[in-house]
C-alpha cells in the first residue's frame, strides 16, 4: 500500500494511525505469482451494474421526485427494468431519442419535454433529468435546462456509463447533485476577516439540537439507523437522517448537522461538497467489535461529546459484539466479491467473526476512504483486494483460493455453484440484512454460517447435473437455454 497522508481539515478516520503503521512497517509479501491479477488479455469483463442505475436507485426512491431519462431505447428499456425491479414502482418519463432527434439536434427540447411530462404527476417536488451516454455525447448541459418546469425545481444528473465506472459511485453523483441544490455551502466572514463556511443559519434551540446530531451517509438496511440512533442517543447525540433518504427534506439538513458519518467509501463527491460547507466528516462504519468501538469514539470526538461516556458506550458495544461472535464463531474461507462498494466492511465483519477472507473485490475505485479498511484487512490475512474488478479476476480467485463460500456477483456465484461451491449473490442476500453494531452482527453471521453448512447440497446438485467430478473442474460454458 502506498504511503498515505492524514488529510487536512475535518476528516477523521478512526484507526488511521494504527493501520498506517501496520501497513508500512509490516508490508505483506505477495504470495502470488507476479502478474496474477493484472494480465490484461484476460481482464475483459468489468463487474458493475449499469453505473447509471445507482443514480436511479437513489432518485426514484425519494418521495416527490420524478425522473426524466434522456437516452436511447435500449438503455431506457434496461434501466427502466432494473429500476422497476430494485428501486421503485414509479412510472418513468422519457423522450423518444434516436437518429431523428439527433439529426434535428433537439436534445434539449427532448429533455425539457420529458421534464414537462414528469411534472404532471401530482405532488412532484423535484424533477431529475438523467443524462445518459447518448445524451451526454450529444452535448446536453445544465444551461440548456430551465431551473424550473411548471414551478418545480429541475436538476440535471449526469451519469454516462462511460465516465462513471460503477453503480455505487453513481449513487454519489445523485446525492451530490441534490446536496448542491439544497445544501450548498454558505460562507461567512468572521470578525478578523477570515472567510469560513457557515454551518448553521441561526442560533436557536432547534439549530443547536441539530448540531449535536449526525447524518449517516450510505445506503443501509432500515434496521441499522435504528440501532445507530440508539447508541448515539446514549452519547447525547442522535441520528438526524440517513442519506440516501426517501425524504427530500433530509438532504436539506445535511449542512446543518454536527457531523456526517460516511459509512460507505464511495461518496467522495458528496463528502467533498459537505466538507466545503464546513461539516465534519467521519469515515468508516461500526461493523464488528473493533470498528464499532473506534467509530463510536470518533463520533464523540467529532461532536466534542463527553469522552468518558463515549469510552463506556464504545467498550460496551465492543463487548456485546464479541459475545455474539463468541457464541456463533465462523470457520471457513470466504471470498467477498460483490460490486456494491461496501465489500470491505463485510469482509471486516467476517474476519473478526473468525472467517478467513483471502480475496476481496469490488467495483469501486481505490480511494482515501478505502485505505483504512484495506490496511486493516491486509494486516489480518487478506492477500488481495481488487478495485474496479473484472469477472476474470474473480474466477481466477476461485482457482487460487479454493473457497468454502463465495459472496459474488451473479456470474461469479453461478460459476462457483457450477463447481459445487456454496455461493450467493452479494447484492440480494447481504443488503437485506442489518450489519451495524452488535444488533447487526447476529443476522449476518447466521446467514454465513447457514450457507457454509449447506455445502453438501451444492455438491449434490452439481453432481446431479454435471456428473461425477473430473480431475479438472469442467468450465461452465453451456447454453443454459438448451
Amino acid at each position: 500500500m502506498s504511503t498515505m497522508t492524514v488529510p487536512e481539515g475535518s476528516l477523521i478516520i478512526p484507526d488511521i494511525i494504527e493501520t498506517r503503521n501496520n501497513s508500512t512497517l509490516n508490508p505483506q509479501p505477495s504470495p502470488l505469482p507476479a502478474g496474477h491479477s493484472v494480465s490484461p488479455d484476460y481482464n475483459l469483463t468489468p463487474q458493475t451494474m449499469c453505473p447509471a442505475f445507482g443514480s436511479l436507485r437513489v432518485l426514484t426512491r425519494i418521495d416527490g421526485v420524478q425522473t426524466a431519462m434522456v437516452t436511447d431505447t435500449g438503455c431506457l428499456y434496461g434501466l427502466t427494468f432494473v429500476t422497476h425491479f430494485y428501486a421503485s414502482r414509479k412510472s418513468i418519463a422519457a423522450p423518444a431519442f434516436g437518429t431523428k432527434e439527433l439529426v434535428a439536434g433537439n436534445v434539449a427540447e427532448a429533455a425539457i419535454a420529458a421534464c414537462v411530462e414528469a411534472s404532471k404527476m401530482p405532488g412532484t417536488k423535484l424533477i431529475a433529468a438523467i443524462s445518459l451516454c447518448v445524451a451526454e455525447t450529444a452535448g446536453l448541459t445544465e444551461e440548456m435546462l430551465p431551473a424550473q418546469v411548471n414551478g418545480i425545481d429541475v436538476i440535471l444528473v449526469r451519469v454516462p456509463a462511460y465516465a462513471i465506472h460503477s453503480h455505487p459511485e453513481a449513487k454519489d453523483v445523485a446525492i451530490n447533485a441534490i446536496l448542491k441544490k439544497y445544501a450548498p455551502a454558505k460562507m461567512e466572514v468572521t470578525a478578523d476577516g477570515v472567510e469560513k463556511p457557515l454551518t448553521y443559519d441561526g442560533s436557536n434551540e432547534e439549530e443547536e439540537a441539530l448540531r449535536r446530531k449526525v447524518i449517516m451517509l450510505g445506503e443501509v438496511f432500515p434496521a441499522d439507523p435504528i440501532s445507530v440512533d440508539a447508541v448515539l442517543k446514549r452519547l447525547g447525540s442522535g441520528l438526524a437522517a440517513t442519506l440516501p433518504s426517501r425524504n427530500l427534506d433530509d438532504y436539506k439538513l445535511a449542512r446543518r448537522v454536527g457531523a456526517i458519518a460516511a459509512v460507505h467509501p464511495f461518496y467522495g463527491g458528496s463528502v467533498a461538497t459537505l466538507r466545503a460547507a464546513g461539516v465534519p466528516i467521519i469515515s468508516g462504519a461500526p461493523v464488528g467489535p473493533e470498528a464499532a468501538y473506534n467509530w463510536i469514539k470518533a463520533i464523540a470526538a467529532a461532536l466534542k461529546l463527553d469522552a468518558s461516556v463515549a469510552e463506556q458506550v464504545a467498550a460496551e458495544e465492543r463487548d456485546k459484539c464479541r459475545a455474539i461472535i463468541g457464541q456463533f464463531p465462523l470457520k471457513g474461507r470466504v471470498l467477498v466479491c460483490g460490486y456494491e462498494g461496501n465489500e470491505l466492511l463485510y469482509a471486516r465483519l467476517l474476519v473478526e467473526a473468525g472467517a478467513e477472507v483471502p480475496y476481496i473485490s469490488t467495483s469501486i475505485q481505490k480511494s482515501l476512504y478505502t485505505a483504512a479498511d484495506e490496511a486493516w484487512l491486509k494486516a489480518r490475512g487478506t492477500k488481495e483486494i481488487v478495485y474496479q474488478k473484472t469477472l476474470e479476476q474473480d474466477v481466477r480467485a476461485l482457482d487460487t483460493y479454493k473457497p468454502d463460500l463465495v459472496l459474488g456477483t451473479t456470474p461469479l456465484s453461478a460459476e462457483a455453484k457450477a463447481r459445487g461451491i456454496p455461493a450467493m449473490y452479494y447484492t440480494n442476500m447481504l443488503s437485506v440484512r442489518p450489519l451495524f453494531l452488535s444488533a447487526g452482527l447476529a443476522g449476518t453471521i447466521q446467514l454465513i454460517r447457514d450457507a457454509l453448512e449447506r455445502a453438501p447440497r451444492y455438491e449434490w446438485m452439481r453432481e446431479f447435473f454435471d456428473g461425477p467430478r473430473l480431475a479438472e473442474p469442467a468450465p461452465a460454458q453451456v447454453n443454459t437455454m438448451d
Binding site: C75, Y77, C133, N479
Partner: protein, 519 residues
C-alpha cells in the same frame, strides 16, 4: 421562473420549430442492439463483442436476463468497455481489437461477431472495414440501435445470420444456385423448422414445447429450432425443411420469406390451432393424420375446455372484461380466444410493435387509471399503472416483458390447444379466489387474539362493488382531471367503503355510493 406554456414544443434559438417530441412512458420494447445479442447469443458457438460502455453490456447480458430468461448471465458476450477516452478521443477500434485478439485465443473454436450499440453508432464506430481485413475476417453487425426496435432488430439479425452463415453453405443447393433462395431441394418432406424464440421472448419454452407437439401431431418432424436450439454451424440446415413455422408475428417472417418455403404462424386459440394443424397436414401430405390428431386432442388435451364451457365456469366468460397489452402474437391471439371464441368483453388491446391507432403507454396508463378490467394481460408497466390506481379487484396475468417473471416451466403455454386450457384454467382459478374472498369467515385476528383494532378499511377490502355502483363512482370522477383522479378515486372510494362498513353492508350499490358521498 421560466415560462413554459409553449412546451413540449418550444421554439429553438434558430426560430424554426422542430417536429414535436414523442414522449415515452415505461418503454415496452427495447432496441436493435438488445435484439442482436438476444438472438445471436442463444447459439453456443458464437461469441459476441458488443462495442459498448459497461452499462449496455451489464443490462443486456446479466441484469435483465437474470430475471426474464432466468439465466445467471449470458456467458458468450464481452464488452469493448468504452470509456471517456474512447468516446472523446480514441474511438473504439483499439478496444475492439484487443477484445477480438483475446477472445480468439480463449475461444479458437467459436465465431466472434462484433455488434454495434446506440453509443457506438452515436460516435460512428463502424468497424466493418478493418474487421473484414483480419485473418480470418471478423463479421460486424450494425444493429441500427438508434432507429429500430427489438422486433425489427431480431428480424434483421436472423436474415443477416442466414445470409452470412447459411446460404453459402446450404448443403442442398441444386442446379441453379445463382437463381437464389427458392432453389434448395427438400431433404425431407416431413421436416419442419421453427423460426422463433430468442432470449427475451416471454413464455417461449412452454409455447415452443406446445408448437413442437402440434407439428408432430400433424405428421411433421421438427428439424431446426432457430436460433434457440441451434448452433451457428447449423444455420445452413434451415434449407432442409419443407415448411417453416414462424413463432411470432413480431419477427421471423423475413427469414421465412428468404427461405422460400411455405410458412405458417404458430397459433393461439381453438380455431387457429385447428387450422394450423390442418394446413400443416396439407403442406406435409399428412392431412389424414392431422385430422386424427385433432379428433384425439378434443378428447384429451382440449377436453377440459369443453367441460368448463358446459359447466358453471363457462357462464362467467360473457360477463367479464379483459384487456391485453403484449406482443402482437399474444395480443391478437388472446383477443381471438377470449373475445371471439369465449365471448369475453374486450376493454382494450394494444400490441407490440404498435400499429396505428393502438394506445401507447401514456394512453394505456390513463385508461387504466379511469377504469380497470377484471383481467389485465400485460407487462410490469400495466401492473404499475394498476398499482397507481390501487386497483385491487383486477387480476393481473403476466403476458409480456418487461417485468421480472420466470416462465421456464414447460407447463404454462399460451399457444396451441394446451394454451387454450392453460389460460382458461388460470382465469377460472382467479375467479375462485374472488369467490373465496367474498365469503364470510371468523376473523380471529380481529377478535382480539392477534390484533387489537379492526381497521374499517381492512373490512372494506371484503366489500363487493356492483357494476352499477362502480359506474356511479366513475361518474362522480368524470369532472376531475385525469391526473388527479387516482387520488380522488381512492378518497371517494374509501369514503363509500367506510360508510358501508359502518352500516354493516356487504355490497356497495349505487344507493350506497349516493348516500355515502352525500353524507
Amino acid at each position: 421562473m421560466t415560462d413554459l406554456n409553449d412546451l413540449p414544443n418550444p421554439v429553438p434559438a434558430g426560430g424554426k420549430k422542430h417536429a414535436p417530441i414523442e414522449l415515452i412512458r415505461d418503454l415496452e420494447s427495447t432496441s436493435g442492439y438488445w435484439a442482436a445479442v438476444w438472438t445471436m447469443c442463444t447459439m453456443p458457438d458464437v461469441h459476441l463483442i458488443c462495442d459498448a460502455p459497461i452499462g449496455c453490456f451489464n443490462l443486456v447480458a446479466t441484469a435483465v436476463p437474470d430475471y426474464t430468461d432466468a439465466i445467471p448471465h449470458i456467458h458468450n458476450i464481452t464488452p469493448s468497455v468504452m470509456r471517456e477516452q474512447e468516446v472523446t478521443m480514441l474511438g473504439t477500434a483499439g478496444a475492439v481489437r484487443k477484445a477480438v485478439e483475446a477472445l480468439r485465443r480463449l475461444h479458437p473454436d467459436k465465431t466472434i461477431i462484433v455488434v454495434s450499440t446506440a453509443e457506438s453508432e452515436m460516435i460512428s464506430s463502424d468497424h466493418r472495414d478493418w474487421l473484414s481485413k483480419m485473418d480470418p475476417p471478423v463479421p460486424f453487425f450494425w444493429s441500427q440501435s438508434l432507429e429500430g426496435d427489438e422486433w425489427e432488430g431480431r428480424d434483421r439479425a436472423l436474415v443477416w445470420l442466414w445470409r452470412n452463415f447459411g446460404i453459402e453453405n446450404a448443403r442442398l443447393k441444386i442446379e441453379k444456385p445463382q437463381d437464389g433462395l427458392s432453389q434448395f431441394s427438400i431433404l425431407n418432406s416431413q421436416f419442419v423448422n421453427v423460426i422463433g424464440p430468442t432470449y427475451g421472448c416471454f413464455n417461449s419454452p412452454s409455447d415452443l414445447h406446445e408448437v413442437k407437439r402440434l407439428i408432430e401431431g400433424a405428421g411433421g418432424k421438427v428439424n431446426l429450432v432457430y436460433p434457440i436450439e441451434a448452433t451457428l454451424k447449423d444455420t445452413p440446415r434451415l434449407a432442409e425443411s419443407a415448411v417453416n413455422v414462424v413463432m411470432y408475428r413480431e419477427f421471423g417472417e423475413a427469414l421465412a420469406k428468404e427461405l422460400g418455403k411455405p410458412y405458417l404462424f404458430a397459433p393461439i386459440g381453438i380455431r387457429e390451432t385447428t387450422e394450423f394443424i390442418q394446413k400443416l397436414g396439407d403442406l406435409l401430405g399428412t392431412r389424414e393424420q392431422a385430422e386424427a390428431f385433432i379428433a384425439h386432442e378434443k378428447k384429451t388435451t382440449l377436453a377440459p375446455l369443453w367441460d368448463l364451457w358446459r359447466g358453471p365456469q363457462g357462464d362467467w366468460f360473457a360477463t367479464t372484461e379483459f384487456a391485453v397489452v403484449a406482443g402482437r402474437t399474444y395480443t391478437e391471439g388472446l383477443v381471438r380466444l377470449l373475445a371471439d371464441e369465449l365471448g369475453m368483453k374486450l376493454q382494450f388491446a394494444s400490441g407490440r410493435p404498435r400499429q396505428p391507432g393502438e394506445m401507447n403507454n401514456i394512453q394505456i396508463r390513463e385508461a387504466l387509471h379511469k377504469k380497470q378490467p377484471a383481467f389485465m394481460f400485460g407487462s410490469l408497466n400495466e401492473k404499475i399503472y394498476l398499482t397507481e390506481a390501487q386497483a385491487k379487484a383486477t387480476h393481473f396475468i403476466p403476458a409480456a416483458f418487461p417485468g421480472a417473471v420466470v416462465r421456464r416451466s414447460l407447463g404454462t403455454p399460451f399457444m396451441g390447444y394446451s394454451g387454450v386450457v392453460y389460460i382458461v384454467q388460470e382465469m377460472v382459478n382467479r375467479y375462485y379466489d374472488l369467490v373465496f374472498n367474498f365469503l364470510p369467515f371468523d376473523n380471529v385476528a380481529a377478535a382480539g387474539q392477534l390484533r387489537e383494532v379492526t381497521n374499517p378499511l381492512t373490512a372494506a377490502s371484503r366489500l363487493v362493488w356492483s357494476e352499477a355502483a362502480r359506474a356511479q363512482l366513475d361518474r362522480q370522477l368524470e369532472g376531475i382531471p385525469w391526473i388527479s383522479r387516482i387520488s380522488a378515486s381512492r378518497e371517494l372510494r374509501a369514503q363509500v367503503e367506510v360508510y358501508a362498513v359502518k352500516h354493516n353492508l356487504r355490497e356497495v350499490t349505487p344507493e350506497v355510493v349516493e348516500r355515502a358521498l352525500a353524507g
